[in-house]
């Protein structure tokens, strides 16, 4: 009988994970479009297609090299190229990259220009995210060297995506009608079912994200099983805590579930089930309050990216230091600050410049009539009469 090599199992394991992470895209699409108005749905989906395809390409040519070594520059990661051993790693990491980049759309929905958004996504996917990735996960990254532990990207993916979203939303300004005399007025989305199904698709893919963040499957498999348990408990805690403070409002349950999953990422490999439950619960708990606070600050975070990704990501990074003796809270805190600074400053520069160039925000007219009509003369649900009180 022939036996299986460790490599072939781990490559297959990475494929499994990468494919699940890819599917998170469908989750993001549904989660987000459910929270926006029907008149902007096609345009929003277009952003999601564009950021995905552009980042997939940019990361092959540039991003992966920035993160993991210049020998990979310009797509030399090809059969016959430098390093066949990196194939599986590449495919996993590129899926992480498209997830990180696409977080931003949730914060800028219903008012950003396609051109500006795409340029921003390209900058993030090719440069900003890979730089931070290299700090934390690159060989001899400087955050890694000071002891930063971020197993599945609470910091590298979610805090980065969330902070970039925050800067973009701040630079863009709120949607028309979102505030009246400084008071926030909710702009209901168009489909709560999509929000919920999107969140479940995300959670499904998240198992690939978290479990697949293991560098290999240990001999008895316990390393990946314990990640799965931590992930599950954080998901449960995030959902339940959000439910408790909102009487079970399904929009918040969906967001709380995601928040719990974000927070657990940093220490999913080392949290006990109880740790994970607590970490996830707190993430879910803060979500509605932070969302409200962000609103009060005059920032229009369309889909709640700031509480779900930025704050939960930050909390997750710190919680790993708090709960796990082997991880230094100080290292975690310093790393969080570094990440926030790098992401925040880059975000301000990128979106600030785009604004200066007039590439960031659609015209008031386009916002009024809706981006779908404006850009595509398209009605996303041609047979459903329009029922919103205008």
């Amino acid at each position: 009988m022939e036996y299986v090599s460790i490599d072939s199992l781990n490559v297959y394991f990475f494929m499994w994970a990468a494919v699940l992470v890819f599917f998170m895209k469908a989750g993001f699409v549904l989660l987000e479009i459910g929270q926006i108005r029907r008149k902007n749905v096609a345009a929003h989906m277009s952003l999601k297609f564009l950021d995905m395809s552009i980042v997939l390409i940019a990361y092959l040519f540039v991003g992966y090299a920035v993160s993991y070594g210049m020998q990979y520059l310009w797509g030399t990661l090809v059969p016959g190229g430098v390093d066949t051993g990196s194939f599986a790693h590449y495919i996993k990491m590129v899926m992480f990259a498209i997830a990180a980049v696409t977080i931003v759309t949730g914060a800028v929905a219903e008012r950003i220009k396609t051109s500006g958004y795409v340029i921003g996504a390209l900058m993030i996917g090719a440069v900003i995210y890979p730089i931070i990735e290299s700090f934390a996960w690159g060989s001899s990254g400087f955050l890694a060297n000071i002891g930063f532990h971020d197993f599945a990207g609470a910091g590298v993916v979610h805090l980065v995506g969330g902070v970039l979203g925050l800067t973009a939303a701040a630079v863009l300004g709120p949607r028309k009608g979102r505030f009246k005399n400084g008071k926030p007025i909710p702009i209901p989305g168009h489909d709560v079912t999509y929000v919920v199904i999107g969140a479940f698709i995300l959670a499904f893919g998240w198992y690939g994200f978290n479990i697949g963040s293991a560098a290999f499957i240990a001999g008895d498999g316990s390393n990946i099983a314990s990640v799965a348990i931590a992930t599950t408990m954080a998901l449960a805690g995030g959902t339940l805590a959000a439910a408790l403070v909102t009487k079970g409002d399904p929009i918040w349950c969906a967001n709380g579930m995601c928040a719990g999953l974000v927070a657990v990422c940093a220490g999913a490999d080392m949290f006990s089930p109880l740790n994970a439950l607590v970490v996830g619960s707190f993430a879910g708990l803060q979500t509605p309050f932070v969302f409200r606070f962000v609103e009060e600050c005059g920032i229009d975070d369309t889909c709640g990216v700031i509480p779900v990704h930025a704050v939960s990501g930050l909390w997750g990074v710190l919680a790993a230091g708090l709960f796990i003796p082997a991880i230094s809270l100080m290292s975690q805190a310093i790393s969080a600050v570094v990440i926030i600074l790098v992401a925040g400053v880059s975000g301000l520069v990128v979106y600030g410049s785009l604004k200066k160039l007039g590439l960031l925000r659609v015209s008031e007219n386009a916002e009024d009539i809706g981006l779908d009509e404006y850009l595509y003369e398209m009605n996303v649900y041609p047979e459903i009469p329009i029922g919103r009180e205008s």
Binding site: P186, I251, R292
Partner: protein, 113 residues
């Protein structure tokens, strides 16, 4: 002939339909409309923050009848659609000069039923 145009609460429609049936009025046309008046707007929530929907869902009935039936129809609607709370709606009586049944070309009251 008159058109009795009644704006009622949608949830009262089954009762109104039945009491109209009792006085022999079967034919009618309905529309989903939205209205505002004395009734306060509806408070709704999104992500837990309240907002007010000013225009409330109402149902409009249009019933064309001969003049003699007007009071009967009005009474039937008032009795079956009333809750006593603001928002019960209004009935408007509109003159109708002629009626045509498309199927037959019949005119006036003989076209009605």
């Amino acid at each position: 002939m008159k058109m009795v145009k009644a704006i009622i609460r949608p949830e009262k429609f089954p009762d109104v339909k039945n009491s109209l049936f009792d006085i022999g009025v079967v034919s009618l046309t309905t529309k989903n409309v939205k209205g505002r008046g004395n009734q306060k707007g509806l408070v709704q929530q999104w992500r837990g923050r309240e907002y007010c929907v000013e225009l409330l869902d109402k149902m409009e009935l249009e019933i064309v009848i001969i003049d003699d039936m007007v009071e009967k129809v009005v009474d039937a609607i008032v009795n079956s659609a009333k809750t006593g709370e603001p928002g019960d709606g209004k009935i408007f009586i509109v003159p109708i000069e002629d009626v045509v049944r498309i199927r037959t070309g019949e005119r006036r009251s003989s076209a009605l039923h």
